[in-house]
């Protein structure tokens, strides 16, 4: 388990010598075991935030601290894992083998196998465990990617628009599945999306990013599972939508 504290985080790219600021002065506190969603328009820097937290890119300014259970803060040592927009499965491995990618260091092979079969069952992939990624649909492939991440048992889960490329039905199913997993396994999740409905449906807190800065953080005090047709849901959603759209007019 780990929370994460982001202080004064900034990232500047250089394109042909011109500095482009992708993120500036981002301060964010994600408490242990919470589900935080990040919304914003394309190119606002939300993906960069995730890539910085999991170390795929290096930050220009600021600090990222992972908080352990006993309150210690450290910039390293947390098990962080990310689910990307595309499944990114290894084409040469079967569904089952792909799920086990994060378990290569597990010394106890029997335990690794148990973990994999447990998550194959949760993800409803038992029938397809011998299949190769080219043989399964996009929704199933994304399930495999989710299962692969869960087998790895990370402290902090980062998700970069993981359901963005899926059809509406598959997307809704996976959203519900993710909430069930969140409630059962008490994971800390940071979930990036451009879909306001999805952000309010999933998150306990919605962080709005505009032009590389956090413009607002909205707590969502609705219990799971949430009803999208409810008045409270609708109001929150309209509020956030207006916040993002409003400044454009």
């Amino acid at each position: 388990m780990a929370g994460v504290e982001v202080c004064g985080l900034g990232k500047t790219y250089s394109i042909k010598g011109t500095p482009i600021s992708a993120l500036a002065d981002v301060n964010l506190d994600i408490t242990d075991g919470s589900f935080v969603t990040v919304v914003g328009k394309s190119g606002c820097g939300k993906s960069t935030l995730l890539r910085l937290i999991c170390g795929l890119e290096s930050m220009t300014t600021g600090e990222i601290l992972f908080k352990s259970v006993n309150g210690n803060k450290s910039s390293v040592g947390a098990r962080v894992n990310m689910v990307f927009q595309e499944p990114r499965l290894m084409p040469w491995l079967t569904v089952e083998e792909n799920m086990a990618v994060g378990l290569i260091r597990e010394p106890d092979i029997r335990k690794a196998k148990e973990t994999v079969s447990q998550f194959l069952a949760i993800m409803g992939l038992n029938k397809f465990k011998e299949a190769y990624p080219s043989q399964i649909s996009g929704g199933m492939a994304q399930r495999v990617a989710l299962g692969r991440m869960l087998c790895y048992n990370p402290d902090l889960i980062l998700m970069d628009e993981p359901f963005g490329a899926l059809d509406a039905f598959t997307r809704r199913n996976l959203q519900k599945l993710l909430i069930e997993i969140f409630q059962e396994q008490k994971k800390t999740i940071l979930f990036v999306t451009h879909d306001v409905d999805e952000a309010v449906f999933l998150g306990q807190k919605v962080v709005i990013i505009e032009d590389g800065r956090i413009s607002r953080q909205v707590p969502v005090n609705l219990s799971y599972p949430r009803e999208m047709a409810s008045h409270a849901f609708f109001q929150l959603r309209e509020d956030i939508m207006a916040n993002i759209m409003g400044k454009e007019i």
Binding site: F84, V101, I136, S137, G138, G139, Y152
Partner: protein, 254 residues
Amino acid sequence: MKLIRGLYVPLLLLVLWWLGSMTNTINHYILPPPTEIADTAIQLGRSGVLLKHLSISFYRVIVGFLLTLVVALPLAVILGMKRDMNDYFDPFLAFIRHIPPIACIPILILWFGIGEPPKIAIIILATFFPIFLNTLNGVLGCDKKLLEVGRVFGFNARERFYRIILPSALPSIIIGMRLGFGYSWRALIGAELIAASSGIGYMIIDAEQISRPDIIIVGIITIGISGYIIDYTFLKLTSWFMPWEDRSVDYGGS
């Protein structure tokens, strides 16, 4: 069905050849009739001459091919992993690449005599680039997105290489080996035609000197069939080694 369709053209040519010979339209000295070729092939097969020459040629190809693998594979992997090394090797390799192996035969004979070494050297020259370049492209073309997956799962350099880079380069490596084997076969026959005292190429050039067109044609057909078998074997190996390739069955929707 596909197999049967593939036999139509060769059978048609065979029938035309046979008819031409029967009606004496084709001079028997220039092109002996197919029946005579078959007789010669059986004779050469029974006496063990064909097998002797063929196995010598095969032996040369395999030795040269394995030596190439030992050199080209690691070199391509190292250059693919350490991009700045490319600066040192690229111009030289680009120069060597344009030299046909056959053009080196005279100098190789001066260096090594006419024993086995020049033939094996020819094969190395012929197989090196297909294997090297395809492996290099395979390593360089590794999907950055998969490498990122390796990073988020905390792979070290060794795991990254064996679990991501190598398997993703494998299809290119096999294509390189397949091309390389084809090239080596051609280059070897060339070398054996010029300077050898054994091998299929030698059998052909020797038959020319004793005016036996039938043996020449048996040699040519043997080369074709051997090449076909080698290529087919590689193709089978590919699907055996890489079961994830060439499967397009789709179980689910979307």
